[in-house]
């Protein structure tokens, strides 16, 4: 992952479940850059996965969330100062 060498002001995104196949420590650093909405962030994460079809397919089925709630509306402005995460389809129990 080239993003591992991103500058310290990079946006840190936690990934869970099946994403650990691709990023064992579960942390992805993306350039905040132009990411203003959840949809923007999704594109940044997509870019970080390059052409890894399996990761991209899992991402497609995933939701973004803060520690408080799932960000259903992806046109929503990215919350600042809140940890962000990518949640693949869930299967507790």
């Amino acid at each position: 992952m080239t993003t591992m060498n991103a500058p310290t002001d990079s946006l840190e995104v936690q990934l869970f479940g099946g994403f650990r196949q691709f990023i064992p420590n579960g942390t992805l650093l993306v350039e905040p850059g132009e990411a203003k909405t959840v949809a923007d962030l999704r594109r940044q994460v997509e870019r970080a996965f390059g052409d890894d079809e399996n990761a991209l397919m899992l991402l497609k089925a995933s939701a973004f969330a803060t520690d408080r709630r799932v960000l259903d509306d992806e046109s929503e402005r990215l919350p600042s100062d809140e940890p962000l995460s990518v949640l693949p389809p869930v299967c507790g129990g």
Binding site: A65, D72, L87, V90, C91, G92
Partner: protein
Amino acid sequence: MSTTNMHLAVTDRPLDGNSALEFCSAPGHGAVDLFIGRVRDFNQGRSVVGVSYDLHAALCRNVFAEIAAEALDRWGRETRLWLTHRSGRLDVGEASVVAAASSRHRDEAFKACRYLVEQMKHRAPIWKQEHYVDGDSEWVKGHALCGHG
């Protein structure tokens, strides 16, 4: 999270049905229903030796709290609820989730307990990786949390 009438938690330690039965009781409650989910030795044609649970702890607690609040709305404020989910690696037979509900009458207890389980399965940020007897491991497919999943 534990209030006077609900106990909601995620933990990497073994789960215990008895604590749930003790918590979900009151002199006016004639019924308690308890559900325990356990790791099975066989799933979709493959022999399983264990399961690793990954979860988003902070969000999980929030989702559990939402689900529990909905259950109280539906089956009465005096209902007592318990919902705990385990994280980390579990062997076959170990409990992954314990849900319980007590209330005056049995219908509410059964329904509230089942509600906790179903909603947890569909909404809580928890993921399961099965470990097979042949040494292979696989993340189990689940329910998408996004509309386009």
